[in-house]
Symmetry: C2
Subunit: 338 residues, 2 copies
């Protein structure tokens, strides 16, 4: 139709043209992709002598994100970042992803484009190839489901279950920034950001892919897990999977300074807030004493990324924290359900 | 709490106990599963000298299914069947799946259990192992996203793009039953089923895994595609991917007899209804003349599964149908979007 306005919502756009928007962002595939988007399924060649690492994580509008205060490109970034963080915790190198989208008819095409820009920008940085997916209509929220695939040599694989009593416990980066950032976004409808770095840490979490690979390659860690549901939850999960306990030092936990000030100003205990808040995509790792030198090499290679010793693995099953001369229980985690 | 009622909705159940319900259905994993559910990601060992085939397909409540007239176990069956059908069209042997669920708080626990029963019953028949997934709350519809992984030897891979002029076009089973079944379910709120076999074909589609593997192993097909969006759509897609045309014989198309009667009684052209209705999970395959004998062997091995010659690949780009002495265009397919 001559003179017709371009479609402004995905409902007007339709499935084929949505897929075209995705395809237009694809780059030339590597040789290990035998068949990408366009057949009944994707076909890839596994890396020789490697294991395949697979993970899937969904973002549901109204549960994991809110379009009212999260820019669409940040949602795209996050949808992939949460999956890459899982691969990082295994020491895997990311390779491929599949994208499943359920979209309400009313979603603006501009939002879909910004979403794809955020997603493909992060994918490009880690050379992840989109090999398949599907698009359907949603009668309710936007639902984004990504499956990511990576590869790792068997001896370089990290898992949650290898921690042994005496191993030291480390965390990468700082914690609490994302939780403070989320609260700020929720609170300040006027756009006032009191901790800009917190907001940006919440909006664009950085998956620790390189750190995971360095730990695996140097065989520097006995166990690893990502902090998707917060530090407290991660410590509990890693301890349980390893059949061990963990004792943390409260003073050692690297709470993001700006987040600490933000929580203190609101009369909230910064440490509790930082430990139970989700959305930090740092890694929690345990390091056997005999791998201390290898871990030192990883620390050097990690450059500006902080790796802080926050505790030790114990032979009990308790997860505790030393704070102000007393031992206290570590609060339980955080759930996206119920 | 003593005397408390067991949770009746998934909102009361919570994430951990939902995951427990899933885990309780897992069987002992094969040796190629190095890490299953419970770590940050799953780890599997690729099959040596095989390619990996990956597909993802989502079912969205209100778009792909309606809980008012579809039993929960049929929804579980379908969620996996649609993915297995994609693997079948590649000639792949299914191996692993990841399950991503977004569930409204109000969903009855009994429905979740029946859903899982339907899903795991089909998975068990094809020895597919659930290796990972995630569960979250949905503020709207039930959304089920499954990623399935299979493997195939490079020379046994089927794709959409290998059809060449002169190849014969075959379809498995019959078409139209699922479309008639869906219309019956929608129409008869009093539970009267006029074509029971149609309803059951809609509710529990049978993915043609064995046929796909037989075609691949015998190198009997030049191209294959599944009929998820109907025969008309599949013919168009296969022709376009192969850069060829297809000419169908209307009289040869195996419309399910009960569906034919059902559509005729409603004054609807059964052939058009059967070709444009979705949800038939049969395979459309093209067979080069020089592979005729190999295809005959596949027909024997396929046993009671009908394989009907319905047309021929042509050198043009048109997709046409010979009907009553005239050539007509094949109607376009069917979209789950917009």
């Amino acid at each position: 139709m001559q003179g017709a306005l371009p479609p402004s919502s995905v409902g007007e756009l339709g499935e084929r043209r949505i897929i075209d928007l995705v395809r237009s962002r694809l780059t030339h595939p590597p040789t290990w992709v035998k068949l990408g988007i366009g057949d009944d399924a994707a076909v890839i060649e596994p890396e020789r002598n490697h294991l395949e690492v697979l993970t899937t994580d969904a973002l549901v509008e109204g549960v994991h994100f809110d379009r009212r205060f999260m820019p669409a490109d940040a949602i795209g970034h996050r949808a992939l970042a949460v999956n890459l963080s899982d691969l990082a915790a295994m020491g895997a190198t990311p390779r491929a992803m599949l994208l499943s989208l359920a979209l309400p008819d009313s979603l603006p095409v501009a939002d879909l484009e910004a979403f794809l820009d955020g997603l493909f920008s992060l994918a490009g940085r880690f050379r992840i190839v989109l090999v398949g997916g599907n698009v359907s209509r949603s009668p309710g929220p936007v639902v984004i489901d990504i499956t990511a695939s990576g590869s790792v040599k068997p001896r370089k694989l990290l898992s949650r279950s290898g921690a042994r009593p005496g191993d030291e416990v480390y965390v990468s980066g700082t914690v609490g920034a994302a939780a403070a950032g989320l609260e700020q976004l929720r609170a300040s409808s006027d756009g006032t950001a009191l901790c800009e770095s917190c907001v940006s840490r919440f909006l664009r979490p950085e998956p620790r892919i390189r750190l995971g690979m360095l730990l695996g390659r140097n065989r520097a860690a006995s166990a690893a897990i990502d902090l998707s549901d917060g530090l407290a939850d991660a410590v509990h999960q890693l301890a349980a999977a390893s059949g061990a306990g963990i004792s943390l030092e409260a003073d050692a936990i690297p709470v993001e300074p700006e987040a600490r000030r933000w929580f203190e100003a609101r009369g909230v205990d910064p440490l509790t807030a930082a430990m139970t808040g989700g959305d930090d995509y740092e890694l929690l790792v345990t390091v056997p004493r005999r791998r201390h030198r290898a871990f030192g090499a990883v620390q050097k290679l990690a450059g500006s990324l902080l790796l802080t010793r926050i505790g030790v693995v114990t032979s009990g099953r308790e997860v505790v924290m030393q704070r102000g001369g007393r031992e206290e229980e570590v609060p339980a985690g955080f759930s996206h359900f119920g």
